[in-house]
């Protein structure tokens, strides 16, 4: 309903936006192409802040960046997947035994407030760096995921669960074929937020030598080479945005019913 009260020209205006964006992008691409073709290792003499030749004139760079990105991706996906698994169990326990929900939320909330550097620092004293990073990153996903799973299931209209019961669905079947599908958008939103947050946190895990895009930032700083820092940060943002979009796509594909609405 509120959309009905928006500016009537929003749509056409947005179209202009896209057009302007496309023109700007094309202009930038053209400019960049010219710039890149003129790049030369001799520009190093001028010592600019960003050395584009590192990115565009050095064939090895791309595969190195690709390696860093996949390392980063791995350190993002593994904790989120683990977190989802653990959160599902915690949420299931919390939903079954309501009185446990508060302690579960408090615990995951407490984990969430521990500074990541501190958590990495403590955990590496107990286990390998990789495990420490995964444990720390997983623990950060719990709050978001548990909260969203519970909210998602709780958000299923009582009329729908009542109908499911009334039609003779068992508890398990109700959960699998009614409640989970309906909670999916909220759960996936949680996964999305957790993933984007984790992408950022993985950058910090580079202090314990795990590679990833964060290592570009640290290496860049340690050798006073801002190019690498900018590229590391840029790829990190791109990775977060890409994962966000992929998860949005998953959400749309799995919840076709949520898209079509009667024009009220």
């Amino acid at each position: 309903m509120t959309t009905a009260f928006r500016e009537p020209h929003a749509r056409s205006r947005r179209r202009w936006w896209w057009l302007a964006l496309a023109v700007a992008g094309a202009a930038f691409a053209a400019w960049a192409k010219v710039r890149i073709s003129h790049l030369d290792t001799s520009t190093q003499a001028t010592n600019p802040i960003i050395r584009w030749e590192y990115l565009f004139k050095r064939p090895e760079t791309r595969s190195e960046l690709w390696t860093r990105t996949t390392e980063h991706l791995q350190l993002t996906v593994v904790p989120v997947a683990l977190g989802l698994l653990i959160s599902s169990m915690l949420a299931a326990i919390g939903l079954r035994f309501r009185w446990l929900l508060t302690p579960i939320t408090l615990l995951s909330g407490f984990l969430y407030t521990i500074p990541s550097l501190a958590l990495f620092g403590v955990l590496v004293t107990y286990t390998t760096n990789w495990t420490a990073a995964v444990v720390a990153l997983t623990s950060y996903t719990l709050l978001i995921l548990v909260r969203n799973i519970v909210a998602g299931i709780d958000g299923v209209p009582s009329a729908v669960t009542d109908a499911a019961d009334g039609l003779g669905m068992g508890r398990v079947r109700r959960l699998i074929s009614v409640e989970l599908p309906l909670a999916l958008p909220v759960i996936l939103t949680g996964v999305r937020v957790a993933t984007v947050t984790t992408v950022g946190l993985v950058g910090i895990s580079s202090v314990i030598q795990l590679g990833g895009l964060g290592s570009l930032i640290f290496t860049g700083y340690n050798s006073s080479y801002p190019t690498k820092m900018v590229i590391g940060a840029g790829l990190s943002v791109l990775l977060a945005v890409a994962l966000d979009l992929v998860l949005r796509l998953v959400e749309r594909l799995t919840t076709p019913w949520a898209r079509r609405r009667v024009g009220a």
């Binding site: 209209p157 009329a159 729908v160 669960t161 009542d162 109908a163 499911a164 019961d165 009334g166 039609l167 003779g168 669905m169 068992g170 079947r173 009614v178 599908p181 309906l182 919840t255 076709p256 019913w257 949520a258 079509r260 609405r261 009667v262």
Partner: protein, 369 residues
């Protein structure tokens, strides 16, 4: 009508742990097969609780409920529920499933094969008057009235003998509600289910119920009777108050013209001749005489013209301004009489054959019967 009992509640009690009051006092209620029984009462009277105890969404604290003589506790709960249609106010359609999938819920649970399920869905769409085009859509794309039809179709999917409806039309606007009520009656005339329906709308109860159970707070059954009996003779002040001040007006919409003791009134057959007509006039008094020609009502003529006329052929009857059908409600008859200049309405059947006349007096007598 058969008096066979389909659902029987005996001594059914619901007491919630920690609650000071009893939700449902020991309640005895029999529902006859093929009847629509309406549970009505103020908030907190336990009508919904009672309904939900029948499909065990709520377990009674004490007492037994039987369906077709079998205790409902003797069957696995999911199996029991699959055999009972269930319709609720918010409809509770599964938003993530298409209309067809929603309707197919119970048949799928029962493991019907796909072809049979599809046929059944089409059949039900037709039965509840749902455009087949809508079957592929999602619930959010349907209007409230359409959703409620889907709810009914879903409840009827596996052809359960019993249907439980909890304020099924409570969430739709009055115009749609009236149409859905009419549709439900028409549907019931075809499927003859045993229906238990909860409502807080006395007009709905009167319109839909074969029998109405009026419940007081705590699930106390105050009266259990056919709507007309209820309106005619409420057993106590509670029921009387609940039915409201306009009981007679309500009965008007319940009773039909055909139920009245119709008298012929001042009517004469054209064939019988002018003398017979004058004889009719001698028996009663009024300002107009009705003329019948070939079984049909020809019109009214003023009495003085009849007296003055040499033959019936001379008379020029004025067409009737107030005509009602035998199956019209008294309310409709009253409306017709009040809005026409005539104080008498002519009753005809669907073929237009004359059936008698109705006067205000006749309606009044009908209500005080």
């Amino acid at each position: 009508m058969s008096a066979e009992v389909a659902i029987s509640l005996s001594g059914v009690t619901k007491r919630y742990a920690g609650a000071a009051t009893v939700a449902v006092e020991p309640l005895d209620l029999d529902v006859e097969r093929g009847h629509v029984v309406v549970l009505i009462g103020p908030s907190g009277c336990g009508k919904t609780t009672t309904l939900r105890m029948i499909n065990r969404l709520i377990e009674p604290t004490a007492g037994t409920i039987t369906i077709d003589g079998t205790d409902i506790r003797d069957r696995p709960v999911t199996e029991l529920r699959r055999g009972i249609g269930y319709v609720i106010q918010q409809v509770g359609l599964f938003p993530h499933r298409t209309i067809a999938q929603n309707i197919a819920t119970v048949p799928t649970l029962l493991g019907w094969d796909k072809r049979k399920v599809r046929d059944r869905v089409d059949e039900l769409a037709d039965l509840v008057g749902l455009d087949p085009e809508l079957l592929r859509r999602y619930p959010s794309e349907l209007s409230g009235g359409q959703q409620q039809r889907v709810g009914v179709a879903r409840a009827l999917a596996a052809d359960p003998p019993v249907l439980l409806m909890d304020e099924p039309f409570g969430a739709v606007d009055p115009i749609v509600r009236a149409r859905l009520q009419a549709e439900l009656l028409a549907l019931q005339a075809r499927v003859h289910k045993t229906i238990v329906l909860v409502t807080h709308d006395i007009d709905e109860a009167i319109a839909l119920g074969d029998r109405v159970a009026v419940l007081n707070v705590g699930g106390v059954l105050e009266q259990y009777a056919a709507p007309d009996d209820l309106l005619a003779a409420p057993v106590n002040d509670f029921v009387g108050q609940f039915l409201g001040h306009e009981r007679s007006i309500k009965r008007l919409s319940l009773a039909r013209v055909a139920n009245l003791a119709l008298d012929g009134g001042l009517v004469a057959d054209v064939e019988a001749g002018i003398d017979a007509a004058r004889a009719v006039l001698a028996k009663g008094h009024g300002a107009w005489l009705g003329l019948i020609e070939g079984g049909r009502f020809a019109g009214w003529v003023p009495v003085d013209e009849v007296e003055a006329a040499g033959s019936i052929a001379e008379l020029e009857p004025e067409p009737a301004a107030a005509v009602v059908r035998a199956d019209s409600t008294l309310r409709e008859a009253l409306e017709v009489i009040l809005t026409s200049r005539s104080s008498t309405a002519v009753v005809v059947d669907e073929h237009g054959t004359f059936g008698g006349t109705v006067t205000l007096e006749a309606i009044r007598e009908g209500l005080t019967r």
